[in-house]
């Protein structure tokens, strides 16, 4: 029961009415492109985020944290897997092409995964601030997303990211109640990660943003960013940490926290040329991809039905 829209106006009216597009619908090419690019970037970010997490499996302090880092790594890689399948179904690139582009350094993924987590404090800051930022923006997509398969996958991803955030909060509380050394380490991590995490939302949405117009996203970047600041700035301060934003202001009337001026140069630079850890991370992933070539070749030579769906 594929649906066809004869004009873009008709398609947009369908979306404005809360219509949900399914894969067999005859959607306009521009919509297909836009939704594909968005999901591909999300998939790449899950995969690269999982690899960031993986770095910490052998170094995690304590078995309990190790268990949660292991599980979180599997979660993120699994999310990437689901999202690559949804993206591939749009017919613009195969799953393999998306991975090859990523490992060749041709694709985008979230700015935060271009940086290196140097200490356990960094890892806690990531699981606390970055996971929360990802969750805030995914919730805004999920709420009214016009692309059905993505919306359904997001519902599951969000439930799991919510769980990660609780693990992050738990880790943060442990550190906040820890030794002076631990608190200093975490403050350093906040200094390093506050801004990259805040910039994960991107610059203010442009008025002609197609993602908003086609109800792929339902809220503007600046609104999401403000929501995140409002939650985390006071929370960190209540544990005695310093939010590294000298321009942060508080309006006591409305109890609103507002970030100071944002320097977007680091974000632009990171997205254009990569960050301090991009080359290493992509290089390792590319080397793994090469090392596992024989597995793909073996699967390719097997009869299609023996290995399930074609890639």
């Amino acid at each position: 029961m594929a649906r066809i829209w004869s004009t873009m106006d008709e398609f947009e009216a369908f979306l404005d009415d809360g219509g949900i597009v399914e894969p067999d619908d005859d959607m306009p090419d521009a919509y297909r492109q836009t939704v594909f690019a968005f999901i591909e970037m999300h998939a790449n970010s899950e995969l690269m985020g999982g690899l960031t997490e993986r770095d910490w499996i052998p170094r995690t302090p304590g078995l309990r944290h190790k268990m949660s880092v292991l599980a979180k790594t599997q979660d993120e890689i699994g999310h990437g897997h689901l999202l690559y399948m949804v993206a591939a179904d749009l017919g613009l690139k195969t799953r393999r092409e998306m991975l090859e582009d990523l490992f060749a350094g041709k694709s985008k993924f979230h700015n935060v995964f271009h940086y290196r987590a140097k200490t356990w404090g960094d890892q806690v800051a990531i699981s606390f601030l970055v996971d929360a930022a990802a969750l805030v923006s995914q919730q805004a997509v999920f709420k009214n997303c016009s692309y059905g398969p993505y919306r359904r996958i997001l519902k599951r991803i969000i439930a799991e990211e919510g769980f990660h955030m609780r693990m992050g909060e738990e880790r943060m509380l442990l550190i906040a109640e820890g030794t002076e050394f631990q608190r200093r380490m975490f403050q350093q991590s906040l200094d390093d990660w506050w801004w990259p995490a805040l910039q994960l939302f991107g610059p203010d949405s442009k008025p002609d943003d197609l993602l908003l117009r086609w109800h792929i996203k339902s809220e503007r970047n600046e609104v999401l960013r403000a929501r995140w600041v409002q939650k985390f700035a006071p929370m960190l301060m209540s544990y005695g940490f310093i939010v590294p934003d000298p321009g942060l202001t508080h309006d006591p009337e409305t109890d609103t926290w507002t970030a100071g001026p944002i320097d977007w140069e680091p974000l632009k630079r990171t997205l254009a040329q990569g960050g301090p850890d991009s080359a290493r991370r992509i290089g390792e992933a590319a080397a793994n991809w090469e090392d596992t070539r024989w597995v793909r070749e073996a699967l390719d030579s097997a009869p299609e039905h023996a290995v399930g769906a074609p890639a």
């Binding site: 268990m67 599997q74 979660d75 689901l82 398969p149 439930a159 919510g162």
Partner: protein, 159 residues
């Protein structure tokens, strides 16, 4: 007399345990997922809740135990709560109730695989293909529906 009191207390504790949802499936109770095994209620108001983990390495166990303790502690007549994770019996997908299966399919497009039986797509009912035995967690595989192209996660028992 003591026995009768204890048994109504037991019913109330059971109800309290059933209010705890799986952290990764809000709205689906751990009882429906088959995590609940037994209760030990003693006359002095001490309750031991015995649970079975889906997988022993599951990182949600601590959180689930905390939530069970909190929920059961509010029950009238309970003085002390202990949560024990059992090593046996082993959790299998057969332990998921009918209501649990329905909620997973309806709310999360997640199917349940019993043994090696084919898995039906929760959206269209067609038989799905296994894309990978490994999904975002140890208790889930990833399938693809060849008919409606839905990506389906499938709860499975451990190997």
């Amino acid at each position: 007399m003591t026995t009768a009191l204890a048994s109504t207390l037991e019913a109330r504790v059971r109800d309290a345990v059933a209010t705890v949802d799986d952290p990764e499936y809000p709205g689906v109770s751990i009882v429906d997922l088959g995590l609940f095994e037994a209760l030990l209620v003693t006359g002095d108001g001490t309750v031991e809740v015995r649970l079975v983990p889906t997988f022993s390495g599951c990182p949600a166990l601590g959180m689930i135990a905390d939530e069970v303790r909190t929920a059961v502690a509010t029950v009238d007549g309970v003085q002390r709560v202990e949560v024990r994770w059992l090593g046996a019996p082993v959790w299998t997908v057969d332990r998921i109730s009918e209501a649990g299966r329905e909620a997973l399919a309806r709310e999360f497009t997640v199917a349940v695989r019993i043994g090696r039986k084919p898995v039906a797509c929760p959206r269209c009912g067609a038989e799905t293909w296994e894309d990978s035995l490994f999904g975002p967690s140890r208790c889930r595989a990833v399938h693809l529906c060849p008919s409606c192209t839905e990506v389906v996660e499938v709860m499975r028992s451990g190997a």
